[in-house]
Amino acid sequence: MLKQLGFVLDANRCLGCGACAKACELNHHLPPSLVWRTIRKVEDVTPEGIRRFYLSTACNHCANPECLRVCPRGAYSKRRNGIVTHSPEKCTGCKSCVVSCPFGAPKIHPTTGKACKCQLCYDRIEQGSTPYCLTACLTGALQLREIHTLALDNLTRLTAPLPSLRLTRPSVYFLPPRRVKL
């Protein structure tokens, strides 16, 4: 079986501080209007307690990437470690991927007009290093795992109940946070 690297986020440890997103932005020299990683705040209140937590998300490096399927130029590829990469030299900026990704991961770069997205710092991983977002995470909330070997008992996939979610099989898991006793 081929490998599949993916992000695992321990929502109990994520502070939503944005160091991951900032490190991504700075090290990939993204222009001010472009982000590859975003932080989402989630809140729910029940009689058992309150949950207020953050989800730090980027490209999910899906097992069946929709971007790869729809790209007319074959600009997307899936590496042997499961990372979905995009080659700007093949991209014409047609936006097929941008509109079809259920997670909105690919974005149009304002300067080049071509699509771009989180490449999971594949070059750093190949050199034995970790992605910038992980290096920056202060609490160890954001982790990178080989997800085929991951015990999935306590983990959930993305919360959005989209049918396409099952189809693309995102390689991202969350450890849901405990409720705070009031």
Binding site: C17, F53, K181
Partner: protein, 697 residues
């Protein structure tokens, strides 16, 4: 050519991180955390990650400037020589006219906490007796409380918290304001430690804790006393109390006669059963650590609150425990020499050092009122350094009056702040990537140097360089008019700042060794482990003569916070946000578009206001426009604005702030603190014409 340099983040922040910068041909490329530092651990908060943007920000001021009319924005670039000439001539003229140097005032605080930034104080001391802002806007009441109880103000190493089996985070929000503590807390939680967070609303830290205890603002001291009473009733007191404490019988008698758990429950909003559960858990779990934040002492009863929490820790036997204690902050490593011209800062829990004995000392929190009241001689010139009072202080109407009356105002800063708008002369200063400095933390035990990695941006100069140049100009115009040095080496000055005591704490043979890497002071990881205290009795003092001498009750006791007046029924809390530090914003050029007022949806509904609705908060001092956002965890009589800078054209939040001061602060910091959580406002809907709404019945 690539080069690496070491730095210390100079912000007024618990973490005081150790940084490593990379430059290429003298240009700053990247900033990372220093992995050799056991607290920073190579990680940066997003604020420090914006540093390069800050250093090269297009809005940073690169040249000295003169403003033709205050608040006009009509600035012209001038040379350093012109600026220094005008400053020095004004100083000498005021001295001649008034026959005194007291008309010269300095107001400086924590814009940069580096030891060499005390050059400004030293410069003023070199001129003669001057008018000074003393005290601290921040932590004074708590510092005094701990000084009374323990005899000295110190805390355990933050790493010691890892040993706690129970952690109480009380009025502190490290998830936003001391982010490097969070992995220590999380790791402890994974090993089975229980974390309880006490706050007025569900803070980012409370949201990550096991349990959140919502306390009515300003009643934390009563909650602590009620839990102390439960400890006494249920026989959970430390049996060793007679051996190392003073006055515990008196204190227990006070609890017995004055404190009722049920009554405390009504006042604090914490149910009586919860108070009992919490007290039992705290009394039975060893070690148990309390981290008391600065927020809970920013009330008119703030010092008593801290004393009550200290006393609770002592009753349960947690003081001196490894992984226990009541942690607040410390000043043990701030033992700088004081630039030869200022009083050495040891034993002073106050970074505003260097008081000349004949200085005229004004409480920094009432500075405008006090400066206006000065006669014989009046205050005529003001220098603001590392301060932005027109944004951050109380009594802004008095500040405005003062600024209009003064003859001459100098502001040294990085940016054209709200206060800089009042300046006659603006002097551009360097960042911590452009000068030498020496830094200690008020939370962890590390001390380190800051090296310049790049040349000063534009014509900016360090505070030390500015002080030398002012002194040189003064002496050129009138030889002997300033005893502060007229030139020198920043690096050599830095090395002289390591006092013999600091060298001993850092286990250094010679000061030069500090240049190699940041060092951790040789202090016991857990404070008061021997239970030998620095009080007059050598014991932990429940009953304190020092407190009585300062005009307080001998025992920790509860006095209620202020109550809202009928016309301003809502308490306004203004905690720090993760993306701003006082009036500094991160990234540096992003000022949020207006203030957001966080309210309970039920409160908004009673005013007929929807989420996102524009509104106004107001009191007798002023009004500020806000946009409403909902937070279910905020009480219905409290509203929250996370403080951040505002655009100069907009009204700033502090127009609502009156200078109520805290009960304590004078013993250790020279003046009481600012009780800024005792600010009350009313809420108004913004329609065509502004009208005041009262809640629907």
């Amino acid at each position: 050519m690539l080069a690496k340099h070491q730095h210390i983040c100079p912000r007024n922040c618990y973490d005081t991180c150790s940084l490593i910068s990379t430059t290429y041909n003298g240009v700053l490329l990247s900033v990372e955390g220093n992995p050799a530092h056991d607290y920073t651990k190579g990680k940066l908060c997003p604020k420090a990650m914006s540093d390069i943007q800050k250093v090269y920000s297009p809005s940073r001021i690169r040249y000295p400037m003169r403003q033709r009319h205050r608040f006009s924005g009509d600035w012209e670039r001038i040379s350093w020589d012109e600026a220094l000439e005008q400053i020095a001539r004004t100083i000498l003229r005021l001295k001649r006219t008034h026959g005194s140097t007291l008309p010269l005032a300095l107001n400086k605080y924590s814009g940069n906490f580096g030891a060499l930034h005390n050059a400004m104080e030293a410069l003023f001391s070199g001129i003669g007796p001057t008018t000074r802002a003393i005290g601290s806007p921040c932590w004074s009441a708590g510092v005094d409380a701990q000084t009374i109880d323990f005899g000295r103000f110190r805390c355990s190493s933050p790493l010691d918290m890892a040993h706690a089996k129970l952690i109480w985070l009380w009025g502190v929000n490290p998830a936003w304001t001391a982010i490097h503590q969070m992995p220590i807390i999380f790791d402890a939680m994974e090993r089975g430690t229980t974390v309880v967070c006490f706050d007025t609303h569900l803070s980012a830290t409370a949201a990550r804790s096991h349990r959140f205890i919502q306390v009515r603002p300003g009643t934390d001291g009563l909650l602590a006393l009620a839990m102390g009473k439960v400890l006494a009733e249920e026989n959970l007191l430390d049996p060793d109390l007679p051996n190392y404490t003073l006055g515990y019988h008196d204190f227990l008698a006070y609890l017995d006669s004055e404190i009722r758990v049920e009554r405390a429950a009504t006042i604090t909003g914490v149910e009586a059963d919860t108070i009992r559960d919490l007290a039992r858990e705290y009394g039975q779990t060893h070690p148990a650590c309390i981290w008391a934040g600065f927020g809970l002492q920013r009330y008119t009863n703030g010092g008593q609150t801290l004393r009550a929490i200290d006393a609770l820790g002592a009753l349960a036997g947690h003081i001196g425990e490894k992984g226990g204690g009541v942690q607040y902050g410390h000043f043990e490593t701030w033992k700088f020499s004081g630039l030869g011209h200022t009083e050495p800062s040891q034993a002073k829990a106050n970074p505003v050092v260097g008081k000349n004995p004949s200085d005229r000392a004004l409480n920094i929190n009432k500075f405008a009122a006090a400066a206006l009241a000065c006669t014989e001689p009046p205050v005529r010139m003001l220098w603001l350094a590392g301060r932005n009072p027109l944004s951050q202080d109380a009594d802004l109407h008095l500040w405005q009056k003062l600024m209009n009356q003064l003859e001459f105002i100098v502001v040294s800063d990085l940016f054209l702040t709200r206060s800089a708008a009042a300046a006659d002369i603006f002097l551009p200063v360097t960042t911590h990537y452009e000068h030498w400095d020496l830094h200690a933390s008020y939370w962890h035990y590390w001390v380190g140097v800051n090296e310049p990695a790049i040349a000063p941006v534009g014509e900016s100069k360090s505070d030390l360089e500015i002080a030398w140049r002012v002194s040189a100009k003064l002496n050129e115009l009138e030889p002997g008019s300033c005893t502060f040095p007229t030139s020198g080496s920043e690096k050599e000055t830095l090395l002289r700042e390591l006092s013999p005591e600091l060298l001993r704490l850092l286990r250094l043979q010679s000061p030069k060794e500090i240049l190699l890497q940041p060092l951790k002071a040789n202090l016991p990881p857990a404070s008061w482990a021997q239970r030998q205290f620095a009080t007059p009795s050598g014991r932990f003092e429940f009953r304190s003569e020092k407190a009585v001498q300062a005009g307080f009750p001998a025992l920790p006791s509860y006095s209620p916070p202020l109550s809202p007046p009928p016309e301003a029924p809502l308490r306004l809390l203004t905690p720090h946000h993760s993306s701003a530090l006082n009036s500094q914003s991160y990234p540096p050029d992003t000022i949020p578009n207006g203030y957001t007022l966080y309210v309970n949806p039920e409160l908004a509904e009673s005013y007929g206001l929807n989420e996102g609705a524009p509104a106004e908060i107001a009191n007798d001092l002023g009004a500020v426009r806000v946009r409403l956002a909902f937070d279910l965890s905020i009480p219905r009589d409290v509203v929250i604005v996370y403080q951040h800078p505002a655009e100069l054209k907009d009204s700033c939040l502090n127009v609502l702030l009156r200078s109520h001061t805290t009960d304590m602060g004078t013993i250790a910091t020279g003046a009481p603190g600012l009780a800024l959580n005792e600010t009350f406002v009313c809420l108004r809907r913004l329609t065509g014409s502004v009208q005041r709404l009262s809640p629907n019945p």
